[in-house]
């Protein structure tokens, strides 16, 4: 796709001044809500995301229960005012799909067999959106799950990489997402590198895919460190009070 806007300048700088392998600015705060069992507020570039975890608690209605393990029920929702043109409140096809792939990614990492017949509800609210909300949402959900004390094999984390004007770059911004050639959101379990979520749209050669995936996974590891820092910060201050 040829675009009018130049996404990368001659010095290799992107529209927002980032280098190809540079993330947008990320801020993570754990335990920001009072009612939820676990929560996280996350800013990722212009994205503002709030995640809250409730559970494990009895799954209702009962036919949704699994007698052998818990279900993980993620709900991705965009606030009406989070996008340029007001979005009608409530789920649409896009948000249902994202909810599904995030639920499945989290189910792999949570020790669901510890809580038969239960549900672990993960609510992801996008308050302000600017490309890459599913990665930001899943990353926030990972911190909220940890904050809720849900037993997990690892803290899941997500990051995207993609291709713009023929070049592989990390963490697409808004224009890059709209005008770029490919976007590859990936979620991993950082300790063993298991891939929990993988989607792609656009066009990549096999060789490009390899490089893009590696770059996304590298991004995941950087974000993972920020997640852990946020959790440490929350609980360190609790310890200091005591």
């Amino acid at each position: 796709m040829k675009s009018e806007v130049k996404l990368i300048d001659n010095d290799g700088k992107r529209l927002d001044g980032r280098k190809p392998d540079e993330l947008r600015k990320i801020k993570i705060e754990a335990g920001v809500l009072h009612r939820a069992d676990g929560s996280c507020y996350l800013e990722w570039g212009g994205n503002k995301i709030l995640a809250a975890v409730y559970g494990p608690r009895e799954a209702i209605p009962r036919h949704t229960q699994d007698p052998l393990k818990a279900i993980v029920n993620a709900r991705y929702n965009m606030a009406a005012f989070s996008v340029e043109d007001r979005k009608r409140p409530g789920p649409d096809r896009r948000s249902r799909e994202i909810s599904k792939v995030i639920s499945e990614a989290l189910e792999k990492i949570v020790l669901t067999e510890k809580f038969p017949r239960a549900t672990i509800d993960v609510n992801i609210e996008v308050l302000d959106a600017e490309a890459g909300t599913r990665c930001a949402g899943l990353t926030a959900a990972g911190v909220a799950l940890a904050d809720a004390g849900i037993p997990m094999k690892d803290i899941p984390v997500a990051c995207a990489a993609g291709k713009i004007e023929g070049q592989i770059v990390l963490d697409l911004g808004k224009e890059e997402d709209n005008l770029g050639d490919a976007d590859l959101p990936v979620a991993i379990a950082p300790r063993n590198g298991e891939i929990l979520l993988l989607q792609m749209d656009g066009h990549l050669t096999l060789e490009e895919f390899d490089r893009t995936l590696d770059m996304a996974i590298n991004g995941c590891h950087i974000v993972s460190d920020l997640q852990k820092k946020a959790i440490m910060e929350k609980y360190q201050s609790v310890l200091e009070v005591e």
Partner: protein
């Protein structure tokens, strides 16, 4: 009434007899209020309000559309509230239910009837094109008194909103035409005690609720009684007095947060 609220009821009633509340407040005292504006960049105006542990986010979006046939020269205002499951273990996903609709309507009435927004100034072409204002209320953390939190957040969002004229190629952005806002204060009664700004526990055992909106002069601009209990005339007068006094302080705080 299930077991937990009836135990809470005994506890809170016993405290109330000694003139106390569970969080140490006086009967006519609000929790700590925080107002933060401009929190959502995609919205025309936005505000996050905390009253104690209760947290509400309101975003304003605007669009150009057709006016209602019965008011062809006036802008359109719509208010929606979502009690998203993020905010409370008792909220469920799905279309808004009774309580979300009541909340949106009470906030809407407060804004509409007090004529805070000068809708007649939002007409572009009579009968054809007017500005439409969408007020979306997002409850983030529910610890009681959503009415006052949502009303205050709505006002703060409106007062910091910019009409996005540039985006619609209608000239430069400009602030919404607004007048003096009324401030609403909610009280509930249980076991003969009336308390202002109820926490969730107090709300759960409340027999009756009254929301009073007052203006800068101390006049009453809107009221809503809720639940199936009743007040005496004296109680209502006391509630109005407390609402005027607290309304004054809250208005000061609102002005400060919007830089007025």
């Amino acid at each position: 009434m299930t077991v937990v609220p009836s135990i809470k009821r005994d506890y809170l009633s016993k405290l109330a007899k000694q003139g106390k509340r569970a969080d140490g407040r006086k009967f006519d005292e609000f929790r700590k209020i925080e107002v933060e504006t401009g929190v959502v960049s995609k919205a025309e105006g936005s505000a996050r309000v905390k009253i104690g542990n209760t947290q509400v986010l309101v975003g304003i979006k605007m669009d150009v559309g057709e006016p209602y046939p019965d008011s062809p020269e006036s802008g359109v205002l719509t208010t929606a509230a979502e009690l998203i499951p993020l905010a409370s273990p008792d909220f469920e996903a799905g279309p808004p239910r009774e309580d979300a609709i009541e909340l949106a309507r009470v906030v809407d009435r407060g804004v509409r009837e007090s004529e805070v927004v000068e809708l007649e100034k939002l007409c572009l072409e009579p009968g054809e094109k007017v500005w439409i204002i969408f007020i979306d209320i997002h409850i983030l953390d529910h610890d009681g008194n959503l009415f006052d939190a949502a009303s205050l957040a709505t006002l703060a969002a409106l007062f910091t909103a910019k009409v996005p004229a540039e985006r619609f190629e209608l000239g430069e952005d400009y602030p919404l035409p607004l007048q003096e806002p009324p401030v609403s204060c909610t009280s509930v009664k249980f076991n003969g005690v009336v308390v202002l700004d109820p926490s969730l526990d107090e709300e759960e055992i409340a027999e009756v609720r009254l929301t009073v909106a007052t203006d800068k002069k101390g006049d009453i601009r809107a009221m809503q009684k809720g639940l199936n209990g009743s007040f005496t005339k004296e109680e209502i007068k006391k509630i109005i007095k407390a609402s005027i006094d607290n309304g004054r302080e809250i208005r000061e705080m609102l002005y400060k947060s919007i830089g007025k």
